[in-house]
Amino acid sequence: MIKKLVLTAAAVALSATTSLAATEVTWWHAMGGELGKKLEEVAQKFNESQSEYKVVPVFKGTYPETLTAAIAAFRAGQQPAIVQVFEVGTGTMMAAKGAVYPVYQVMKDAGEPWDTKGFLAPVTGYYSDAEGNILSMPFNSSTPIMYYNKDVFKKAGLDPEVAPKTWAELATMGKKIVDSGAATCGFTLSYAATWVGLENYSAIQDLPFGTLQNGFGGTKTEFTFNGPNQAKFWDSLKKAQDDKVFKYGGPGGAAESAPMFYSQQCAVYMGSSASRAGVINNAKGFEVGFAPMPYDDTVTKEPKNSIIGGATLWTLNGQKDKNVYKGVAKFFTYLSKPEVQADWHQFTGYLPITNAAYELGQSQGYYEKNPGSDIAIKQIMRGTPSDNSKGVRFGNLTQIRDLVDQQFEAVLSGKKTGQQALDEAAKQGNAILREFEAANSN
């Protein structure tokens, strides 16, 4: 009798949980601080908008840490449904065919309507395969822009409304700023040797970064970023450093670059458009100007579009409950909504992913009220993208970026010329590319 009662109770409890509990969709991400809070708000609003699925965001540290954690979890069969991977990891993710559930497939299998024409082409192009299928869901894409201190410009006798258009102008203005004592350094760069100072430099000047359309054409690609123009550019940065016009803020994202701008040591800072909120919050006591990235007028008169950074959302294979993927599809649809996109874009400074979100911002008058907030969009949309400005796609790019940083440091310390350093970086980078190619064709 008692046994029967217990069984019934258990059965009731079981049926209750299945009918009540929503399917959980875990989402590993790398957004800390303000961005993390905003991201959690996005997930929460999705959860409130329906009751079938529950997106559970989990903060996993930096981008590399999140990727490593996801890979380790995949190997152990404990992977999340969605993981946020930075653009540098794109090559690695695309090569991992068995691990990734491409987003176009996710949407198709779930029967979720998905209009990819509404997305900004420069963004989706970065994350599409050769056939044009989008493999990961664009979420937070950014592009580097120039931030400058209008007060320092004024103090140095420069027009605060006119930002330098070319690197040569930047060098002259920087010299004037330093000589006049308005600031101790002209400009500083985040990702000085990688995303900003090599990848975007090459794209904007329409110079090839690697063979096979910068790696979009396959893993047989080789680096060609060691061209004479890039070498000349690196030499010019070394010269600017010697003139105290340029100050190096460290490798990678340059932990010290933005603080040097905030403390008014440096008059100009180039970094992600997503730093906008942070820059405005931290720029105490001076007015910030926003401008597109400078171009090199000794190389081109018509600068190309800049390339994007940031991250996308990858769906991982192997969830036991197939309903999870339906939840993923629903969530991605939600993320693509103009009002969700526009809110995320306007709060963070990341690019709007869809045309509709951009248009919504325009009709809301957002860009007029916030001067400079549309510079990033205009910069990635200008001109016709060439093979050199579509983006870069290389395996193990994290490791390669590290060694490019090291070579750049050798230039700054005077041990190598720009050409020597770039040749060495290309040589070592190619060795890593061959390793990657071999590991992915076992």
């Binding site: 690695t92 490798p251 010290e256 040097m260 193990n396 994290t398 310390s413 590991a439 076992n442």
Partner: protein, 294 residues
């Protein structure tokens, strides 16, 4: 019959008592180590979707890899630097405290404090103090005309990580030296004093030779520490830069394997490191044996 049973029980009991420790060692040390050895023979994609047995290819690549050879020499300089700095300073402190009669205990407590700090936290502390843009020390050095920038100057970076890594280790060495000094019989130093030897001479001819087993033991421990336990400090202070000038072996294993995701080569490096530990441990054990005979 009964005796047989007790013998049987006694035989099992030691194993049962050992089991927890053995299981932990097997699961957390032996098994991962074997995995690393296995992985070092493979060429594998990060997700583990496909793997190919490549024999010693990962090892042969290391021999010709300029960055690995650089890492070897950097590790050597770093390990010798940390050992020399931390042992010299701690010996000096120990001798001073040994002479301070009343306040010795207070100083001992103070000097041992840094050892309680997590390496990452201590790394961050040094990172702040020496930060080229906001740090206090570069500012002061700048005033006296030295342009400190460990982001760019390789020498500065090496000095900084040696200081940061030594600082913590000084506490540890200090404790051993104090204990060693206290075990030096007073009668010996007194006898030397009666014979007319001054404090300096007494130290070098009487005390120091008696301390030498402690010093040798510490040298081995310090080298092992510098080579393996300093990863968080390197990570927080320099991340191996500038231009790989502080990329010690253990950091390279981490950077290549966990950030670079190239697993086979990273595993091969860690196996080489493991062999170095084995070698150091053998040296240490042999010395401990000789010390017993001493």
């Amino acid at each position: 019959m009964q005796t047989k049973r007790t013998v049987f029980q006694a035989r099992l009991l030691p194993y049962a008592l050992l089991a927890p420790q053995l299981i932990i060692t097997m699961i957390f040390f032996v098994w991962p180590a074997l995995q690393a050895v296995y992985q070092s023979f493979l060429r594998e994609d990060p997700f583990g979707l496909s793997a190919k047995f490549v024999w010693f290819q990962n090892y042969t690549r290391l021999i010709g890899d300029a960055s690995y050879l650089n890492s070897l020499s950097v590790t050597f300089v770093f390990a010798v630097g940390v050992t020399a700095v931390s042992m010299t300073v701690s010996l000096l402190f120990a001798v001073c405290v040994n002479r301070a009669l009343k306040s010795g205990r207070f100083y001992t407590t103070m000097l041992v404090w840094p050892y309680a700090l997590a390496p990452a936290a201590s790394g961050l502390l040094w990172w702040f103090m020496f930060n080229p843009s906001v740090g206090l020390i570069p500012y002061v050095l700048n005033l006296v005309g030295y342009d400190w920038n460990h982001r760019l100057h390789e020498g500065d970076a090496m000095i900084l990580i040696i200081i940061a890594a030594s600082w913590k280790q000084i506490s540890y060495n200090f404790l051993f030296f104090v204990a060693g000094l206290q075990s030096v019989p007073h009668s010996l130093t007194e006898a030397a004093a009666i014979d007319g030897a001054g404090p300096v001479k007494r130290f070098w001819t009487v005390v120091f030779p008696l301390l030498s087993p402690t010093a040798f033991f510490l040298a081995v421990i310090n080298i092992t520490y510098a080579m393996f336990d300093t990863l968080p400090i390197i990570d927080a202070v320099t991340s191996g830069g500038p231009s790989q000038s502080t990329n010690i072996l253990v950091y390279k294993v981490y950077a290549d394997g966990f950030i670079g995701l190239s697993l086979g080569p990273s595993a091969a490096q860690s196996v080489v490191l493991m062999l170095i530990v084995v070698l150091l441990t053998v040296v240490q054990f042999r010395w401990v044996e000789r010390k017993v005979q001493y």
